[in-house]
């Protein structure tokens, strides 16, 4: 910003500050505060009471008694191999789901970005359209499709392709299907945004300098769409790791995902401190890729885009 802009923009600048303050307050209130509460509980011990954990700060009639904090919940998480396995399983499922989204979403985004502006609008609308229906409802709909007596099995049986209904539901396959189906738009949109901005002259230039079509893709298209790939992958991966609804509704008994474990710890075992520790570790696991992404982006900007 030049000095001129800065002085002439003070009035709008102040308004902008106020306008930005509101969402920040919102985040502070409804994200940071619950996070701190969970963090606090993760250092407590479970007791049979209401609420079911020991307070962090002890107060008596004499006043402040001291701080009771324990790392036991965390040591428990690390000593009990069960949680480690589930974390890894969740990361694995989210990673594979993200990869599937990328492999499916990239050609789709590429195709859409190369259409005429009018067709692009229609195709993008088609990508966004499922959002108009409740997420929960859409996942439920898959049960109706994948059931042993569901639409797909019925159709295949009727066509004579199979004579035994396929086990499509309550397994990892169904969870991957659910993840890909639910999160594909989050992959396509950022990919589309970078691919649509891609200067087509660059592709011609590479071809002119002797690159075959696949070399043009590897040398030019792919590196220049990297911001979209990273953005899309994070948008899919992060919510997919903590996903609860999809594994709960479509997954089998052996589908281990951290979202379900969290639910079980909170509401079945009623061990709030361990459940809180589980979520804190999850947050830490997810913060790492975000920081990495920020780092890449700032480096990208320094290089002059």
């Amino acid at each position: 910003m030049t000095a001129e802009e800065a002085t002439s923009g003070t009035n709008t600048g102040r308004w902008l500050h106020r306008a930005v303050l509101l969402p920040y307050l919102w985040l502070l209130l409804f994200f940071l505060a619950p996070f701190l509460i969970i963090l606090k509980i993760s250092f407590a011990e479970p007791i049979v009471a209401q609420p079911p954990f020991t307070p962090l700060l002890e107060w008596s009639e004499q006043g402040f008694e001291g701080v009771t904090a324990t790392f036991e919940n965390y040591t428990f998480l690390f000593q009990d191999g069960y949680y480690g396995i589930i974390y890894l399983a969740s990361l694995k499922m989210a990673a594979i789901g993200t990869l599937l989204c990328l492999l499916l979403g990239y050609p789709m985004a590429y195709y859409i970005a190369r259409q005429s502006p009018r067709r692009r609008e229609i195709l993008l609308l088609a990508v966004i359209l499922p959002f108009w229906i409740s997420f929960l409802l859409r996942v439920y709909a898959w049960i109706g499709l994948l059931n042993t007596r569901g639409v797909i099995n019925d159709a295949l049986l009727w066509l004579g392709v199979i004579d035994q209904p396929l086990e499509l539901l309550y397994n990892d396959f169904a969870v991957y299907l659910g993840i890909v189906y639910s999160y594909l738009p989050f992959m396509i949109l950022p990919l589309y945004a970078t691919l649509e901005r891609l200067d087509l002259d660059l592709l011609d230039a590479a071809a002119d300098l002797g690159a075959k079509r696949w070399q043009v893709f590897l040398d030019v298209t792919l590196p220049l769409s990297m911001p979209g790939i990273i953005g899309g992958c994070l948008l899919v991966f992060i919510p997919a790791v903590g996903e609860f609804v999809i594994p709960a509704l479509l997954g089998g008994a052996d589908t281990l995902m951290i979202g379900r474990v969290l639910w079980d710890e909170f509401f079945i075992s009623r061990d709030w401190p361990v459940a809180s520790a589980v979520s804190i570790v999850l947050v830490l696991l997810l913060v790492a890729p975000i920081i990495w992404f920020q780092h890449i982006q700032s480096r990208e900007q320094e290089a002059g885009r």
Partner: protein, 389 residues
């Protein structure tokens, strides 16, 4: 073959270039375009164009936007396929050969530098795709960067270069593979005026040093005139005229070229008298008889269009004593002073307006001819261009 001297492409070096024409004209043409037509959705962008471009020539294709010049260029590069016709490069039919297999490189109007690569990586790209050995790539890139004076910026990304520097990177990248033919799409359009004038001489010098055949596509007639050995003027997908800058300017063969290249006064007339090459015409619009010379045969009564360049007309306040001149009388209606020259618009009694430009040869704060002066316009009969309708 590329030769790069130590003093390669240095500023201020005198221009050692034949004024017009190529160095070696004879021999088969490097590029032969045969009856090429390109239709987009049934509309002909390029319409039955035939053109020969000689080896070592700096050839310009001049036309306004939408005349088909860029489509023609893209067909030479291989990005578009002709609907019909053939394109031969160095005697080989290249009509359907993909861009990556042609001995042709293109410098894009937008430069199309790879933003994620440094200057060196951009320039080296073509050689890498050719699988040239790493040591040779290094040497040739260094040589090329020296040629375009970019050694100091070798590790920069394109976004951190000025427009002129980007243009030079694009040029270096397009020349590194030593193409038989270099195509340049509006090479100077993105530069500011001062830099453009400077760069066009550099470009012409570089072409002369390397001996590579250049084809420049441009909408800017000054650019075409100063750069090119020969110019093809295009109009609505067709070639209106091919010739040296002098031929195109002084001897346009049709009304479009006469009007498109430079300023000109166009006067409709009817032939009244023919005597050898000497024509007398009656021009209704200016209410006068004019004389012109033409090698083409005209019959009395036929229509013709006379054209006179503004700088060919002399303006004076007294009646000039000049035989073999056309003389008209009028009043200065408008005048523009540009320092080195003045542009007059003179209204004739019939109401028609003639453009006249005059060099300000003598130093004087006041002009000898001013607004509302009665003046005589005269020009040599031989300077009159006769165009058939």
């Amino acid at each position: 073959m590329m030769r790069v001297g130590n003093n390669g492409w240095v500023q201020g070096e005198p221009l050692v270039r034949p004024s017009n024409g190529t160095r070696e004209r004879p021999g088969p043409p490097l590029v032969r375009i045969e009856e090429v037509t390109k239709r987009f959705n049934g509309v002909a962008a390029v319409d039955r164009v035939s053109l020969d471009i000689q080896r070592g020539e700096l050839f310009a294709i001049l036309g306004s936007s939408g005349c088909g010049k860029t489509t023609l260029l893209r067909m030479m590069a291989g990005f578009e396929q002709p609907t019909s016709g053939r394109i031969l490069i160095d005697g080989v039919d290249m009509t359907h050969v993909p861009p990556y297999e042609r001995p042709v490189n293109l410098m894009f109007q937008s430069y199309a530098l790879f933003p994620h690569m440094t200057v060196t990586q951009n320039v080296a790209y073509g050689l890498k795709k050719e699988r040239v050995a790493a040591a040779e790539i290094k040497a040739r890139v260094a040589e090329m960067l020296a040629l375009v004076r970019l050694e100091a910026l070798a590790d920069r990304r394109p976004a951190r270069l000025s427009g002129g520097e980007q243009q030079r990177v694009a040029l270096a990248r397009a020349l590194i593979k030593r193409p038989k033919l270099l195509l340049l799409d509006e090479p100077l359009a993105a530069l500011d005026k001062k830099l453009r004038e400077h760069t066009q001489f550099e470009l012409a010098n570089l072409q002369y040093q390397l001996g590579t055949t250049f084809v420049v596509v441009t909408h800017d007639q000054d650019e075409a005139m100063t750069l090119a050995c020969r110019i093809a003027v295009m109009e609505q997908g067709r070639i209106a005229q091919v010739g040296t800058p002098g031929e195109v300017y002084e001897y346009p063969t049709n009304r479009f070229v006469a009007d498109f290249v430079g300023n000109i006064n166009l006067i409709e007339g009817r032939v009244t008298h023919v005597e050898g090459a000497r024509l007398k015409l009656h021009c209704e619009s200016i209410g006068a008889e004019l004389t012109a010379l033409s090698e083409e045969s005209f019959a009395p009564g036929g229509a013709a269009c006379l054209a006179v360049r503004p700088e060919k007309i002399m303006i004076s306040r007294s009646r000039p004593e000049a035989p073999n001149h056309n003389v008209l009388k009028g009043v200065v209606w408008d005048l523009g002073y540009f320092g080195d020259q003045s542009l007059y618009r003179v209204r004739l009694p019939s109401g028609a307006v003639m453009q006249v430009s005059a060099q300000n040869l003598r130093r004087s704060a006041s002009l000898t001819v001013e607004w509302d002066d009665e003046v005589y316009l005269s020009w040599d009969v031989a300077s009159t261009i006769v165009l058939r309708e």
